[in-house]
């Protein structure tokens, strides 16, 4: 098939099929097609391609029933908003903590003291790093930890109405 050398006109052929040729170019295209057998043949081929792409009608009801409901834009939808929220949380949390520490200086001491007295188990990266001796020592330390209350809670006596006592 011979091709026309006028690329601009050839580029307009799909637009002609879809009624999208700009007004200013329509007359020039019509005049070109009158005198160009190659472009007329190309247009006919494009129409064949378009016709060959016919498909059965789509079941739109099925699609609509599968659509999710609109949830609207969530507050944290934007990545920038997520970053901003994280900054606010960190800065706000830190300032609240420091203000509380200013009001109650003992707070920091208490935290430091608790950290120092808390039972510490020295572990490696994983249990595989521990030797048999270390594992035995670890088992003993675990056995020494008391997960139960040291004393039974006191019983709470609730007087019953009308019991007379």
């Amino acid at each position: 098939m011979i091709e026309c050398s006028n690329g601009d006109m050839r580029d307009l052929l799909p637009d002609l099929m879809h009624g999208r040729v700009p007004d200013g170019q329509r007359l020039a295209l019509d005049a070109h097609l009158d005198g160009c057998a190659a472009c007329r043949a190309e247009l006919a081929l494009l129409q064949r391609v378009r016709e060959a792409a016919r498909v059965p009608r789509v079941d739109t009801d099925r699609i609509v029933s599968a659509l999710p409901p609109y949830r609207g834009r969530t507050f944290l939808a934007s990545p920038m908003l997520r970053v901003a929220a994280a900054v606010v949380l960190v800065v706000g949390g830190s300032s609240l903590f420091l203000r509380a520490a200013d009001r109650e200086p003992k707070l920091l001491d208490t935290i430091a003291q608790a950290s120092a007295t808390a039972p510490v188990l020295l572990l490696g990266e994983s249990f595989q790093d521990l030797s048999d001796t270390d594992l035995e020592a670890l088992a003993e330390e675990l056995g020494g930890l008391d997960g139960m209350l040291s004393e039974e809670p006191e019983e709470i006596m609730v007087p019953l109405e009308g019991s007379g006592s």
């Binding site: 098939m1 091709e3 580029d11 799909p14 637009d15 099929m17 879809h18 999208r20 190309e42 081929l45 494009l46 064949r48 391609v49 378009r50 016709e51 060959a52 792409a53 016919r54 498909v55 059965p56 009608r57 789509v58 079941d59 739109t60 099925r62 699609i63 609509v64 599968a66 659509l67 999710p68 609109y70 609207g72 834009r73 939808a77």
Partner: protein
Amino acid sequence: MTDRVRGAGDPQDAELLTRWKAGDQRAASMLVERHADALARFAFSCGARDDSDELVQDTFVRAFASLDGFRGDSSFRTWLFTIERRLLLDRRRAEKRRPPSVEVSEDAAATEYDALDGLVAGESAEQVRAAVGTLTPTQREVFVLRVTEGLSYKEIAEAVGSTEGAARVHYHNALRGIKEFLDD
């Protein structure tokens, strides 16, 4: 060919989207009506012959689930084509991973597909489909969007993530390939 509505760049889409966001379920139906056929043609022409309906549905579901990501830089239809194309690519990748035999390139896959198609191509429409099938996936996408859907090179570039110039080159290479196939 009767398309239900001319969709690309249609300002009615924006209005329908606004109505749907406001809770009007009929607006969703109208949007699906407007664009379902075009998406089905694109899917079918790009090789999704057995499951084009499913692909169209998946495209709409994904689009409506992420509608807030649609900024309106392109037309709604172009955006739908972009989503459908991504789904098509995902399926092609999944299909490539599935067979344990020799890995084939996209071009080779297209050629194999169409050699088979050519055997059964009897009438004109089948011949044309077989010719379109000989194209590489990118050529086929560009050509179908240009000829079947009437998108401009700019819209095609947006849909396939390319440039207008590249889309134009793909279109003309595709057209030349189809002519050669049909002339043989």
